[in-house]
């Protein structure tokens, strides 16, 4: 019997070396999968907000009146940054714990990014946000500091009434 085998079998006999239970692996696997789905859903929602909020802020604007700096002012950068972090974590979880390593990582990054962006855009153009933004516990997500609407700037709250 080899020295290593002897040593390992003694460790098992003395219970210095114990197996982890099957439940541990099932639980860990489930936790990773739930975390992955939750992060992807949150990322899609953030992308949706990053599209919806500028869309709502600009309103039905005529193309010739559009200015890129208006859009840059109104884009919720913090949501985009959190979304990018979410995407990064998703890539890592997918690569580390699923079989996606079989494909080139750039393919996985491209496919997941496109799917997340498309899903986010679909949500932004659905009526989901209109339903969510009036719910008290979600209203905060839809509040934006729009520099164009500061004191003395923008069209003001009575604009629609004056029309």
């Amino acid at each position: 019997m080899s020295e290593l085998k002897n040593k390992l079998l003694k460790k098992i006999e003395s219970e210095d070396l114990k197996m982890r239970s099957r439940g541990f692996f099932v639980f860990t696997r489930a936790l990773i999968e739930i975390a992955l789905v939750a992060i992807l859903v949150a990322t899609i929602y953030l992308v949706n907000l990053a599209i919806y909020l500028p869309k709502r802020g600009l309103g039905p604007i005529r193309p010739q009146a559009f200015r890129i700096n208006m859009l840059l002012d109104i884009v919720p950068w913090h949501y985009l940054i959190f979304g990018a972090i979410g995407l990064g974590v998703s890539f890592w979880l997918l690569y580390r714990f699923t079989g996606t390593y079989k494909k080139h990582y750039l393919v996985m990054v491209a496919v997941v990014s496109i799917l997340v962006l498309l899903s986010g855009a679909l949500l932004a153009f659905s009526n989901l946000n209109e339903r969510f933004e009036n719910r008290p516990h979600m209203r905060g997500l839809y509040m934006m500091d729009d520099p164009r609407l500061g004191p003395g700037r923008g069209m003001g709250p009575g604009f629609n009434r004056l029309k």
Binding site: S2, L4, K5, K7, L8, L9, K11, I12, L17, K18, M19, R20, S21, R22, F24, F25, Y101, K102, K103, H104
Partner: protein
């Protein structure tokens, strides 16, 4: 069915059910191969023994996480790969080149003396050259040419796409060719 005829995966299932003798048989089957693999990867006998021991410890601890539908050897080599990479990171990527000669000392004693000397010389140079190439290329070369693993198994062990395994092997050959040019043995590759 005799114990010798049981597949690795069957032994793994037996171990999952609590049969500790199955673990002994798996050690018998894989200890020499893992020692050889880790030794070639780390170029350090002591580190190779430590990594092999850690690999078996971890495989026993995590055996319930092994899926019997997968290949046991790939699962075990994956653990060995992770342990070896940790060991390399701990010593900050330095490779003990002088150890390469001891790997080559296990020669075929049935060959004639001149042949043995030539082979030993070639093997020593080759091992030294392999020890000098980047870890990611070294691993693919060792698994393909020393451990005789198929591309799909190497891909599973290293968690790489099969195409990347092929690319790494080509690049490793180019690196080795560069290393070996000065002693005119690149034709062996």
């Amino acid at each position: 069915m005799s114990k010798e005829k049981e597949t690795d995966e069957q032994l793994a299932v037996m171990l999952q059910k609590g049969n500790k003798d199955a673990f002994g048989q798996l050690i018998d089957r894989y200890e020499p191969a893992l020692l050889r693999y880790t030794h070639r990867l780390l170029s350090d006998q002591d580190a190779a023994e430590d990594v092999t021991q850690e690999t078996f410890l971890k495989s026993y601890r995590d055996i319930q996480g092994f899926d019997p539908n997968r290949k046991f050897s790939s699962w075990l080599y994956r653990i060995a790969h992770n342990q070896a990479i940790d060991a390399i990171r701990k010593r900050k990527g330095t490779v003990i080149l002088e150890e390469a000669e001891s790997i080559a000392s296990e020669e075929d004693i049935h060959d004639d003396i001149q042949n043995r000397l030539d082979k030993k010389h070639l093997r020593t140079k080759l091992d030294t050259a392999i020890a000098k190439i980047p870890t990611k290329y070294r691993e693919t070369v060792i698994l393909r040419f020393y451990e005789e693993k198929e591309y799909d198994e190497i891909a599973e062990i290293l968690h790489l796409p099969i195409g990347t395994v092929g690319t790494y092997i080509s690049r490793a050959k180019a690196e080795l060719r560069k290393q070996l040019t000065e002693i005119n043995i690149e034709d062996y590759l």
